[in-house]
Amino acid sequence: MKKLMILVIAAAAALAAKIPAEGYKAGDRAADFRLKNVDGKMLSMAGYKTAKGFIVVFTCNHCPVSQGYEQRIIALDKKYAQKGYPVLAISPSDPASVPADSYENMQKVATAHKYTFPYLIDETQAVSKAFGARATPHAFVIQKTGAGNVVEYVGAIDNNAEDGDPNRTNYVEKAVDALLEGRKPVVNTTKAFGCSITYKN
């Protein structure tokens, strides 16, 4: 019996050690954040009084996959901000290891590429960790409800990172369209393909 107990404890310890921070899944409530935008102002989801929800995209300057998605992210904001789902872009990158992702360089890119949405820096990476952002770009569609900000989609923006495929499946668009029509997204989880995010510790 004692042996069994030891085995159970050892197994539990092994499991506990292996479980990574999973982050948000579809159905989870997302905690609000307070992050600095490229215009110097601090920004929270709570500040968007009339929004119905948000398209939160973890993205960054240096990653070629993010760069490949840049125009698609701008297009998402242009299409859905007016319908109540603005894009909030968050850079999860640690500028100490990737200088291209410094705050100053984020400001430059946002201006030069005419970002229509906030581009926030997650200096401590705490928000990215809480969301469970794994790669750039990694998208989270969030719906504002009486019970808080509910995550309704987690994953890739679409199923073909290489631009120009007219037949690709646009997961984020489909998810937001469903929510706007009072439905739940049929596909609420996909895999984020892009540059892995390096966390400081």
Binding site: A156, N159, T190, A192
Partner: protein, 160 residues
């Protein structure tokens, strides 16, 4: 000027062919049929990209591992997840610079989700990832992390 042309010619004649790498496209199902035809061969398939920093760091480990097992039934495949349109502008120049000698393929996919799931359901999609297949022993293991030369050796000894 003449000397410059001569050096360039010599370079093209001798140095270029040594590093010239063809990078063929491969779908997930073509990879599977290759595994099936391999009999007792152990396939070590590394998924990487030229833009993936930890991948670039680990590639020399794979080259050393391949070099050390030249006479064994082992096949190393380096499957790039770069865009298919970047083969000539990014993947091939990279392979030349890094003097990669292993077979390099480019993941041909119209649908990343389908490709990733076909390789391994548990793969989150992050790079690097390494698949080890030995059909003769029904081995199929996926590792979503960088591997060292020593770790690759241990895995090969375990699954060969």
């Amino acid at each position: 000027m003449k000397r410059f042309v001569v050096t360039q010619l010599l370079y093209l004649l001798f140095v270029w062919p040594a590093f010239s790498q063809t990078v063929r496209p491969v779908t997930a199902s073509q990879l599977e049929s290759r595994f099936r035809s391999g009999k007792d061969t152990v396939y070590v398939v590394n998924f990487w990209a030229t833009w993936c920093v930890p991948c670039v760091k680990e590639l020399p480990e794979f080259e050393k591992f391949r070099e050390d097992h030249k006479d064994q039934p082992l096949k190393l495949l380096l499957v790039s997840m770069d865009y298919e349109s970047k083969v000539k502008s990014a993947v091939m120049p990279f392979a030349r610079r890094q003097k990669l000698k292993a077979e390099i393929l480019i993941a041909s996919r119209k649908n990343e989700q389908g490709f990733i799931d076909a390789i391994d359901k548990g793969w989150s999609g992050s790079l690097p990832g390494t698949l080890i297949v030995n059909n003769a022993k029904a081995v199929r293991k996926f590792f979503e992390k960088p591997l060292t030369h020593e770790e690759l050796n241990t895995l090969y000894q375990t699954y060969k």
